[in-house]
Amino acid sequence: MPERKEEVTPEIFDHLVELAALALNEKEADYLRGELNKQLSAVHELEAIELEGNIPPASHGVPYPPERKPDLRGDVWVPSHQAADITAQAPEFDGGYLIVPETPHTTLE
């Protein structure tokens, strides 16, 4: 059986992992890259479909004419009595601040 060309090379994979902000061990990385390439093989079926120029993309299936849209909530400030419950969920919180380590500084080119 001829081996399929790997679409996601180790270099592309490392770039994706960096963008996704995921620390991976080697075993995980091997599995994930293998599965990514397998899934992309499955996706290649899409390329064989003839799509005429007038087929628009569908961001969702069911049409939303204006009369079907619910009234939106008023854009008004409502006091919350749960602020303490919500901030209590933070891994580190002090004096009204979410505490995080140093933010790295990068220079935009």
Binding site: M1, P2, R4, V8, I12, F13, L16, V17, L19, A20, A21, L22, A23, L24, E28, Y31, L32, E35, L36, K38, Q39, L40, S41, A42, V43, H44, E45, L46, E47, I49, L51, I55, P56, P57, A58, S59, H60, G61, V62, Y64, E67, R68, K69, P70, D71, L72, R73, Q82, D85, I86, Q89, A90, P91, E92, L98, V100, P101, E102, T103, P104
Partner: protein, 529 residues
């Protein structure tokens, strides 16, 4: 037969007649959980042989608040107050819905310590209607799977009909809890078949409503254009009771639709004469990839599945419906490839919010800076399936590949939607009220058989996923058992907002087969209790 084995409709009637109390019903479910569920899912699980014979549907059981709710229902009924249409009916909630002051984990380590400050809209509607929440049930991590094995909370749920088999997924805990009598109803979600497939595997009824029919407010999102909350129940009548409660527009979810909600219970007994039910060859074959070459081949669905569909069609014909054969649905085979792209892009976007800063898991390891905090928290907190979906979603939506993958998949979605529009067009060639198909290509598969192969696992959803692309409703209901004694599910698909018709057709089938020998079977596990 105990209280928890009766139907929600019957228990409602008994409760109102004063023949039983809400507390007795709740205790019956809690006793059943105690008898068959075994240990709840947990992060630090050590595998043990004895756990292989239990259901393990739950992550969190909430007996105290359940008893409190039940007592309040009994008080209201005694005082002659309105206790709500679902008064005293115990239900379980897939642990991907936020429930105030209750762990809401999405079956992920990254949310294991998260306690929600608010309650999801459909759960709130159930509670407001008097239903009693007995706990939160397990699922595939962030709903990413079709077997529940990817949950970070182990042991993962088992199929009550055979605990060596998976319950399906991702609403596996929902289906297992309802099948085992641990709850009368369950609130699940369906993004590619995640209500219908486990319902089929566990021999219960599961409905994916029309997109926009039920609010997603408070649902931890996976694929925002595909996710649909819906009911899991043991009969169409019970599902109808629940649908009437959870459906309807919600100002907190702008994708809900302003379409009147009928009383689904009232239309169950309508006459079937003149209704048009379609059969499509596209749903009687499966396309699957060769694990070695990646090449695709097609083969018919197993004969038992085909026979179930044909027998169901014969029953509908006998009830006066017209059966329309050879409805094309030619784009069905593209459902999974398009789903691989669209759902992953949406998943990656939704999962970016989990970063170890505002809530949820933060790495215990020392880190240099904020970037490493993100990487390690997400690296430790997410299991393999979320990681895979994030990476896939980022790849196929990247600027240089988006035209080839994401934009193309969205256009294929238009083609899939057109298949449905053509089949259900009231002035078209087929003019269907519903399409009848198998729910799944196979019955419940053995634990560990497919897990790890993300492509084959996804193909478990190929007969259900196109309804998610199209946004249209679908229902799976039990149709007897296969040779191995596992439940077979049959599916009905309908046009937008046709939940009443799908429930009616399911109910009609149930009534026509009420005396069938297979309906007397119970999971062996329940014979012990």
């Amino acid at each position: 037969m105990q209280l928890c084995d009766l139907s929600a409709v019957k228990l409602s009637r008994m409760l109102r007649a004063g023949e039983v109390s809400a507390l007795e019903i709740t205790e019956s479910c809690l006793n059943r959980i105690g008898a068959v569920d075994g240990i709840p899912g947990r992060l630090d699980y050590v595998e043990s042989e004895q756990d292989n014979t239990r259901v393990h549907a739950f992550i969190t059981v909430t007996p105290d608040s359940a008893r409190e709710q039940a007592r309040e229902i009994d008080r209201k009924l005694a005082a002659g107050e309105d206790a709500g249409p679902l008064a005293g009916i115990p239900f379980s909630v897939k642990d991907v819905f936020c429930v105030e002051n209750t762990p809401s984990t999405a079956a992920s380590r990254i949310l294991a310590n998260f306690s929600s400050p608010y309650t999801a809209a459909p759960v709130q509607r159930m509670l407001d209607a008097g239903a009693v929440m007995v706990g939160k049930v397990n699922l595939d991590e962030f709903t990413f799977g079709s077997s529940n094995e990817s949950s970070a909370f182990q042991p993962s749920p088992r199929n009550p009909w055979n605990t060596e088999r998976v319950p399906g997924g991702s609403s596996g805990g929902s289906a297992a809890s309802v099948a085992a009598g641990e709850a009368l109803l369950s609130l699940g979600t369906d993004t590619a078949g995640s209500i219908r497939q486990p319902a089929a595997f566990c021999g219960v009824v599961g409905m994916k409503p029309t997109y926009g029919r039920v609010s997603r407010y408070g649902l931890i999102a996976f694929g925002s254009s595909l996710d649909c909350p819906g009911p899991v129940a043991r009969s169409a009548a019970d599902a109808a009771l629940m649908m009437s409660t959870i459906a309807g527009e919600d100002s907190k979810d702008a994708t809900t639709a302003r379409v009147p909600v009928p009383d689904y219970s009232q239309s169950l007994d309508r006459d079937l004469r003149g209704m048009r039910i379609g059969l499509s060859p596209a749903f009687l074959q499966i396309t699957y990839p060769d694990p070695d070459s990646g090449d695709y081949s097609q083969q018919p669905v197993p004969e038992e599945m085909q026979r179930a569909v044909m027998e169901a069609a014969a029953i509908y014909r006998a009830l006066g419906a017209e059966i329309i054969e050879d409805v094309p649905m030619p784009n069905t085979k593209y459902g999974i490839p398009a789903y691989f792209v669209i759902s992953r892009v949406e998943a990656a976007s939704n999962l970016h919010r989990f970063d170890g800063v505002k809530y949820g898991y933060r790495t215990k390891n020392p880190v240099r800076d904020l970037k490493e905090l993100y990487q390690r928290s997400r690296g430790d907190g997410f299991g393999l399936q979320p990681k895979l979906r994030i990476l896939m979603g980022m790849y196929v939506s990247a600027a240089q590949y988006s035209e080839q993958y994401y934009q193309r998949a969205l256009r294929v979605r238009t083609l899939i939607r057109r298949d449905y529009e053509e089949a259900f067009d009231p002035n078209g060639k087929f003019r269907l009220d519903a399409l009848l198909t198998p729910t799944t290509p196979t019955t419940a598969f053995p634990v560990k058989d497919v897990f790890g192969d993300s492509v084959m696992m996804q193909y478990a959803d190929q007969l259900t996923v196109t309804a998610n692309h199209a946004g249209t409703p679908g229902i799976s209901f039990p149709f007897g058992f296969d040779q191995a004694g596992l439940p077979i599910g049959v599916q009905l698909l309908g046009p937008d907002f046709s939940e009443d018709i799908l429930l009616q057709l399911t109910h009609a089938y149930e009534q026509a087969t009420v005396d069938a020998e297979w309906r007397k079977r119970r999971p062996a596990l329940l014979e012990e209790v």
